[in-house]
Symmetry: C2
């Protein structure tokens, strides 16, 4: 299989490593950030850094576009390829309609990537979409080389999935940031909350629905405790607002 | 060691089992819910169900009050004990001042308990507080029989810790509930988000501060994606409000 990757960010990094690990070499790597591209190319034994996105003379199976959402359409417009080469982007929120012509699709891995952290790709859900049945088969073939968990998801549903992931992951991380800030003045290590968090997540996914395992003062309508909490947040108006809104939302569900 | 437990809810349940597991028998169990008390007493081989909270004739080391926050002061007022018996409550938000006299304290396990789920008590943080140095030693001695992680936390700090845990655990669970509701119409299983969530939590605790690993459209100030998300939530005004407030909060941090 012959693959080129456009991009050198976290997604490009992890996809390249996961592909290499499963015996699929990256033929070319292209990106605007020369330093990042160089670093990634260094650890990929079979990869050449490409000076441009003209692959019209190459027999590539896939061109994987792993760049920021806003840059995808520019990159797509620049790419030159043979007709049978499949172009793929990796975004949760960009429609498949960013492509034109034939042989294109989406390869969206549902994970939060950082260069420093290893990811177990074998259980990582990848959502795929394609312009045709034939392309879909070829993309699924690529995906199953890396993971056991492949879902066919169209652009509209992928957008909803992405929104759902923003609530579950991005917003949760922010709650943890707020939580850590609250601990700051009382000199307790943030790690004190880790067993609680791991159990919270496991319990939510083990339940039929997370709302069935909701605990805390809001669901108990324990107004005394809620009042005490709002008092602590008296000088942190914005965080107080978040506390009130989420408590009200819990009570509405 | 001679212990009585007041209450038959989730905390009483798990504390009783953890104590038994570590060779400490529960002498008496008392609670208003006869059915729950009966069920718990059944699985505790050395426990007698008490008909009241008069332990003035018993040589008890501890009376553990594991009832709902609002009921603690009533229970405390009813209890009769020998002077050397230590009274303890297990609440995150109730002050130690709910007690009077001597030999009392707090034993607050920082976890979310459900009867159906086993908890590894050996790594569970327990926050302790006492009316005197001597009582503190005796409470710490009890705590270290169950867990390696014991913190001394006063009532004021414990209240802040509890608030911090509400953000980290209760509100996170609610975000997962909202996230699951969003997935409902597109027929993807909620489990698709589990690898993402586990990585989110591990990453947040591995970082120096969760805000250093914040990802998503808000922190990238990706207004295009944010606009698309708000459109999806057009008919869900309340959830849209949560999305906006949390996005703004991420951008302020």
């Amino acid at each position: 299989m012959q693959i080129a990757i456009i991009g050198s960010g976290n997604v490009a990094w992890h996809l390249a490593l996961a592909l290499e690990k499963n015996g699929i070499s990256i033929r070319y790597l292209y990106g605007r950030n020369a330093e990042q591209v160089g670093k990634l190319a260094e650890i990929l034994p079979h990869t050449k850094v490409s000076k441009n996105t003209d692959f019209s003379q190459e027999d590539l199976d896939f061109i994987l576009i792993a760049v920021s959402d806003n840059a995808i359409d520019d990159v797509v417009a620049q790419i030159k390829r043979k007709p049978q080469t499949i172009m793929l982007h990796t975004s949760g929120s960009v429609s498949i309609d960013v492509f034109a012509g034939n042989n294109y699709g989406v390869f969206y891995p549902l994970q939060t990537f950082s260069k420093k952290r290893a990811i177990d790709f074998s259980v990582l859900p990848v959502c795929v979409e394609a312009d045709s049945e034939n392309t879909l088969l070829r993309i699924k073939n690529l995906a199953t080389k890396m993971t056991k968990v492949v879902y066919e998801v169209n652009s509209q549903d992928r957008r909803i999935l992405h929104l759902s992931a923003v609530f579950a992951s991005n917003f949760t991380n922010h709650l943890l940031a707020l939580s850590r800030d609250l601990l700051q003045p009382i000199e307790l290590p943030f790690s004190i909350l880790q067993p609680l968090l791991l159990e919270t997540i496991e319990k939510a996914f083990a339940a039929e629905h997370p709302k069935q395992v909701q605990t805390g003062p809001a669901i108990r309508r324990d107004t005394q405790t809620i009042e005490k909490h709002l008092q602590i947040l008296e000088n942190k108006e914005f965080i107080q607002k978040i506390y009130q809104l989420l408590s009200e939302s819990i009570q509405r569900s």
